[in-house]
């Protein structure tokens, strides 16, 4: 991509990895640190008592399945691009995008279920245990939206025949980020299951 073309065009790369891919990993590390802060704050705060216990919304199990499926379709899209199977690539990208939207809808329904059970984000009756759940899912959801935006960019470039075996960078980055978002949710889900 032309962001780095100038600096990379003529000189050799000492890192053995494309700079943008490396950059993406660094961004992922910073997101991990953010969630490490949230989840360790969760643990520290929970140990202090006055902690409202409630059931996790069941729909979150469904959203976990959805996001796992979307990781599969994303990988298939990546493989299709590597094999220059443009039709399959597009189909899988559409599927991934659809599953991503479905995941967000499921999370939204999870929030409605929480509100139905009188677990609120803020306000007089709220407890940090509930607020933490909203923050964890909300901040993850925000990152998923950024993933969807990037996915949309990849879809548009695939429509312009710009994603194929000789031009894999975009979809590689997208796949890494998407798997990360799936893994992050899996971690959050297990974390919440174990600490409830």
């Amino acid at each position: 991509m032309d962001m780095v073309a100038k600096s990379l065009g003529e000189e050799n790369n000492t890192g053995g990895i494309h700079p943008l891919k490396f950059t993406l990993w660094l961004i992922i590390i910073s997101i991990i640190m953010m969630f490490a802060a949230f989840t360790s704050a969760y643990l520290v705060r929970r140990a202090e008592g006055n902690w409202l216990e409630f059931d996790l919304p069941n729909i979150m199990l469904i959203s976990t399945v959805i996001i796992a499926l979307s990781s599969v379709t994303m990988q298939l899209a990546h493989n299709a691009a590597a094999n220059d199977n443009i039709a399959k690539l597009r189909l899988m990208l559409y599927l991934t995008f659809g599953l991503g939207i479905m995941f967000l809808i499921a999370q939204w329904n999870g929030w409605s279920e929480l509100v139905g059970n009188n677990v609120y984000f803020g306000g007089v009756t709220s407890n940090p245990s509930g607020s933490f759940l909203y923050v964890l899912t909300g901040v993850h959801g925000f990152h998923l939206v950024t993933g969807l935006i990037y996915l949309a960019i990849v879809i548009v470039s695939s429509l312009r025949y710009k994603v194929h075996s000789k031009n894999m960078l975009r979809i590689q980055l997208c796949t890494i980020y998407w798997h990360f978002l799936g893994g992050l949710w899996l971690y959050l889900y297990l974390f919440l299951r174990l600490n409830h």
């Binding site: 032309d2 962001m3 780095v4 073309a5 100038k6 600096s7 990379l8 065009g9 003529e10 000189e11 050799n12 790369n13 000492t14 890192g15 990895i17 700079p19 943008l20 490396f22 950059t23 660094l26 961004i27 590390i29 910073s30 997101i31 640190m33 953010m34 490490a36 802060a37 949230f38 704050a41 520290v44 705060r45 202090e48 006055n50 902690w51 409202l52 220059d84 443009i86 984000f121 803020g122 306000g123 007089v124 709220s126 407890n127 940090p128 245990s129 607020s131 933490f132 923050v135 901040v139 025949y161 710009k162 194929h164 075996s165 000789k166 031009n167």
Partner: protein, 608 residues
Amino acid sequence: MSSTDISINKDVHHAHEEHDHHHDQNFFEKYIFSQDHKVIAKQFLFGGIFWGFVGGFLSVIFRLQLGWPEATFAFLEPIFGGWIVNGKLDPEFYLALVTMHGTIMVFFVLTAGLSGTFSNFLIPLQIGARDMASGFMNMLSFWIFFLASIIMFWSLFLSTGPAGGGWTVYPPLSALPQAISGSGMGMTMWLVSMALFIVSQLLGGVNYITTVINLRTKGMSMTKLPLTIWAFFLTAILGLLSFPVLFSAALLLIFDRSFGTSFYLSDIYIAGEALANTGGSAILFQHLFWFLGHPEVYIVILPTFGIVSEVIATNSRKPIFGYRAMIGSMLGISLLSFVVWAHHMFVTGMNPFLGSVFMFLTLIIAVPSAVKVFNWLATLWRGNIRFTAAMMFAIAFVSLFISGGLTGIILGNSALDIQLHDTYFVIAHFHLVMGAAAFFGMFCGIYHWFPKMFGRMMDEKLGFVHFWLTFLSAYLVFMPMHYIGIAGFPRRYYSWTGFDAFNTFTDLNSFISIAAILGFTAQLIFLFNFIYSIFKGRRATANPWHSNTLEWTTPVNPGHGNWPGEIPTVYRWPYDYSKPGAPEDYIPQNVPFSQTQSSNLPYERDLE
């Protein structure tokens, strides 16, 4: 189909490169929304200098109050309006002044101004790269910083004042707008500005790390890197790991303030009225804040470690003593910086056993710090020292780092901290070791790399006047503070005349204030020298300090892409100064061993 696409892509790519090399950029592309690392570095430098004067000015105002508590300051009314009531500083305005002084100096000057300037400027030039890995992200980093600056600056002019809860913004004070006026709109703007600031730092830091890892020129192995690059690299890693945590903490604080959550709030009565918030923990914020906050002080000081090492070696005309030990100690300090945060919280009622663990880890930091000091002194030892203005600041940096570092050992003891916590002893400690020292490192860098930045020299005589006034006033301000701190004089107090124990320090406080005003005034000399030299300074040569690193192999005014021809290849480490047998007392990194047969060491003969 795909093959057609590839050839189209190549054409587009080619056209783009042509565009870069031959088309003159317009004013906006060249100076405003530039993606050139050198221009972005200068933008950060100007931003940092601007903020430095704002932050310094605020400190002069509150020093007036502290130095002359009985005096009236009616003459300030034209500037501050409602904040001066009957000639007296409003107490809440005083709190806002110290808060903004801390925020501006720590984040906007010594983080953005320092790393932003020197990492951007030196990383591509010293590792031999045409530019940063992503010029676009780099530009974004500056402009998001600019946006954060505007919001922070704007908050200074709110009628309710800027944030007033201290630069550490501890809740519940900062979380409750009804607590003080500085927790109202000013605090909201502080949080928004800091959130943007963090995004800017992450964009910059990600770029620095990627560039150092991926874009080094041929031959530039990690153990041939100048120490500056190691320092910037580790600084960026610290930022990458710690700033997201501050972001998390700030986000939860924003929710507490604006969305009615209770992460940090519990069982609070304010103005006789009980708040509904239950279940929060104010200590939680301190843990999150200091998990950033402690690495942050190394984010401030590490770049200056690198700058000072480079300048001391160059101007002592000697190889840096213990190159690998310098890298090792910086790695050690970086690692330790993440496991000592609770030494800021010894008096929060934490478990004394936990306190002793953090005390132990804190005191270990003295070891790598002492290694560095030893190596700087050993580099100076019997060197052929050239006292340039930059060198003066570098040597003074070592002095300040020793004086400030020693008191760190005292403060790191959890038992001693009970007496010294939140006194002026702490103020004296961190102002010497990370405030003044980092400023000296920054000045050192500006004087040293000014010729490469602007193609002209700064005036050395004015530099010396600036140096001596700044150096003297730094010690005159902060040395007496140790004394009143040991006596128990608390920080952040607007007025202390009501306490008999502290009334005896009136003269000492006036003395400190006079020294502070002197120090601030001395910076005007620097400002004049800086601006004057940009336009009228003596023209620089390509390598005025006879230095070894790659930036001095570029033309006097390096253009877009830094080297007009091929990027130089690196053959040797950057510290071949006064090598026995060499005709000159420096051998730049791009000189192959085959050209220096008279000075090659036995093992280097194989490399000829």
